[in-house]
Each structure stands twice: as C-alpha cells, then as structure tokens.
C-alpha cells in the first residue's frame, strides 16, 4: 500500500513540530552549559495560566512542597520578629515614607489595604491595591517580596498599583 500524496510531507512536518514542542517543554530556560537545574521564571511567559495556577505540569505534591519551601524563605526574609507579628495578628502594617499618616496593610495572598489617619487623603480613589508578581509564586513567598517593595521601594508600588474597591485573593499567587 502506498501512502497518500502529501502524507510523507505531513508526517515529516509533524515530527519537526513534535521535536520542537518537546524541546520547548523540556528546557526550564535558556540554560548555560554547566548551569544547575534552576528555574528562572523571568525567562518565560505566564500570562496564559489560569488564576492561582503554577502550570498544568504542577502536581498536588508540587504545590504542597512549594508552599512549605515558600514559608521557610518568607520567614527568613522577614526575620523572626516580623514573622511572629504576622502569625499573631494576620497582617503587617507598613507606614508610608512618602506620605505621613498613610499605612499599607499587607495580608498573605490578598490585596493591600490602604489605611489613612484622620485628615489624611489617600492618593487612590478606592481602599485596596491589587499588585501581583509577574510569574506564579506561593503566596507567603510573594508576601515577603511585597513587604520589601512597600518598605524599600514605595515609589514602584505607587507606580504599578491598581486601585480596587474591594478585597479578594491575588490571581498570580497560589
């Protein structure tokens, strides 16, 4: 039996596409020779992922392990005193260095709440600020990152924050 005209061409094309696809999925990033197997998420695009997802290849065990590791590094990033305060009260308040009387209330996996002392006007029309990492992160890990941003680079926070009228979970953390 002879293959249909074009079938060989189609088979070859599919093989090429299949090879390319497997190559793309296998490499975590543009690894240099000798580099450890380290996932560098800034090299990838994550916009296609559903909210609160780390990817279709992530298993339930992967999520559990990631959250455990994230908790360790978040605790080390914040230091014991802040970590204990977060566990005790469920949030951390960071006073603005740019606007006296304004405080950012940070909670794990949630939007930032903007709190103003009496007589202080918020620069935003609504009380919550939505800020996400550009790639998926466990929410406790991102909480520590957001704390560093608000404390040390409030200018960036003010530039990128999306004001929102209500609170809800962040979309790019899990």
């Amino acid at each position: 039996m002879h293959p249909l005209p074009g079938a060989n061409w189609l088979t070859a094309a599919l093989a090429v596409v299949g090879t390319w696809w497997r190559w793309c999925r296998a490499r975590p990033g543009r690894e240099e020779p000798g580099a450890p197997t380290l996932e560098r998420p800034w090299l990838r695009t994550w916009n296609h992922l559903p909210k609160r997802s780390a990817g279709a290849d992530f298993t339930r065990d992967n999520y559990a392990t990631a959250r455990t590791r994230a908790r360790q590094v978040a605790r080390a990033t914040l230091g014991e005193a802040l970590w204990a305060q977060l566990q005790r009260q469920g949030y951390l308040d960071v006073p603005s260095t740019l606007q006296p009387g304004l405080t950012y209330r940070l909670r794990v996996g949630r939007r930032i709440e903007v709190c103003c002392a009496p007589g202080v006007n918020s620069p935003w029309p609504t009380p919550y600020l939505c800020i996400n990492p550009t790639y998926p992160l466990p929410e406790e890990e991102f909480f520590a990152h957001l704390y560093l941003y608000v404390r040390d680079r409030e200018d960036i926070v003010r530039r990128v924050a999306a004001p929102q009228p209500w609170d809800q979970p962040l979309g790019r953390t899990f």
């Binding site: 780390a54 590791r69 990033t77 800020i131 520590a144 560093l148 941003y149 040390d152 960036i156 990128v160």
Partner: protein, 77 residues
C-alpha cells in the same frame, strides 16, 4: 558560604558558593552574578541580608554578601 535564593513557583531554589578561593567557588560566584544581572534585566529586584534582615539592594553583586534573593517583578491588577 554565600547563597542566592531564587524565588519561583517551586518555592525557591538556592545557588551557593563557598568562601574558599577555588575554581568551583569562582564558577559559582560567576553564575550567581550572571543570574542576578539577568533577573535585574528582566525587571526583578534583588535583596540582600543585612543584620539578619533582607533589604532591597541596587548595588553591584558582592560575593562577600551572606545571602541574596531575587525578588519578583510586580504588576498591577
């Protein structure tokens, strides 16, 4: 021993370099510096541990720092 924490969906992954003046240490230090440069070029920030606490840092990479961390870029919405 110095270390670079790369926060990612795995929680984090760590690259370490020894204090010793060896070829292995030099390679690890060079790799850590390249990763930090690459992450910064893609919008990430970097923190370093100072007196037991992380602070965001804009200085060039210093292998004498005890611990660095790649801090994810952020976006609104």
């Amino acid at each position: 021993m110095g270390r670079l924490i790369v926060a990612n969906r795995r929680g984090h992954q760590v690259l370490e370099w020894p204090d010793t003046d060896t070829e292995e240490a030099r390679q690890q230090i060079a790799l850590a510096e390249r990763i930090i440069q690459e992450a910064r070029a893609h919008g990430a920030l970097v923190s370093k541990k100072v007196d037991g606490q992380h602070v965001l840092d804009r200085a060039p990479f210093d292998p004498q720092v005890e611990e660095y961390q790649i801090v994810a870029p952020i976006a609104g919405g």
